[in-house]
Symmetry: C2
Subunit: 205 residues, 2 copies
């Protein structure tokens, strides 16, 4: 029985989105909440704020803190994490477009998690077509077919629309979570609150 | 018996520092951790990052989110909170200097909490000398004597030094918590982690 659903908005370069992608399924399941997966691009949103790079690179103290906080949080959760020094932020355009070609939430979840693990647990470059191809094949997909689809005008437009929609919903960072009644929660550390909100509002509705 | 101590670094205009100021004493006590109170000014640190205002005012979506997140968090904790629309960020210079005139951690804690409540629960302007005076008198202090001390070169220098020290420790926002072994935790939502860190490292030392 589903208590409600939660939108999970993420950018493939986002370290804290990796934590959320690892944690969201068992937590949501235990609360009877369904999850929908919404890849988008933070880059255009940052650009509108005047940033041509991740704020973690522009503001050095914040970037240094993020890496240490990620190490501690990942260790607390038992999630593997490699400090991403020079390669951050990764280019997640291909991974985001491929996600939008996949047909079910389950496929999107499995692909998203595999891409995050390749990047943050194994140190792989997720803009590398060969890395994405290996992930797709391991998950039993037709990689060539998906690469062709990912280049289509339709998929490009859908990613553009996702990003515009994210901004319209007030999203300014990742991960973000949006409840059916429009509450925005930002950050992996708000995941439990977001799920509790869905559970509470659905039960009392 | 003290398991160790935690430095609590805060700016009087910071909403999330208010939550931490309300929560830190019972939590720290339950874990046997002592707390030291370190007021500083975020303004000069923000200025070095190119910001002439709070990032919550510069980045509108982030500011809107902060106010909603504060409302939800305060309600979860049972802490009163008024949305601070036009008056944010307050000028906390006088309150910070007065805190540095107080002699014990207990006096600093009680004054800090009273100033935050005046600002965020009652909507008072904490740059108003009369508001600070009323708080000091309620707490049994000699307000006139403290106002004179607060204007002294010594106290001005101490606040300047606190701010320089905060930046040297890697602090870029408030509240921040620093453990005896130099771990930095940022945000009210990291308070429990910071206290657990002190407890863990002191017991195993």
């Amino acid at each position: 029985m589903n208590a409600g659903s939660l939108e999970f908005w993420y950018d493939f370069a986002s370290t804290y989105s990796y934590l959320a992608a690892e944690r969201i399924q068992p937590l949501a399941q235990s609360k009877g909440v369904a999850v929908s997966w919404h890849p988008f691009l933070l880059g255009p949103i940052f650009q509108k704020q005047g940033w041509d790079n991740s704020p973690f690179n522009i503001y050095k103290a914040k970037g240094e803190y993020m890496r240490r906080d990620m190490e501690r949080s990942a260790e607390n959760y038992g999630i593997p994490f490699l400090r991403c020094e020079d390669t951050f932020p990764a280019n997640g355009l291909l991974a985001a477009r491929i996600t939008l070609c996949l047909l079910t939430e389950e496929q999107q979840a499995a692909f998203t998690q595999a891409v995050y693990r390749a990047q943050f647990a194994q140190g792989e470059d997720i803009s590398d077509r060969a890395i994405i191809q290996a992930i797709l094949e391991r998950l039993g997909h037709d990689a060539e077919k998906l690469f062709t689809q990912a280049k289509s005008a339709n998929i490009k437009q859908r990613l553009f629309d996702n990003t515009a929609q994210a901004q319209a919903k007030g999203i300014f960072g990742a991960p973000s979570f949006i409840t059916p009644d429009g509450e925005l929660f930002w950050g992996d550390d708000r995941l439990e609150q977001a799920l509790d909100w869905v559970q509470k509002t659905t039960l009392t509705a």
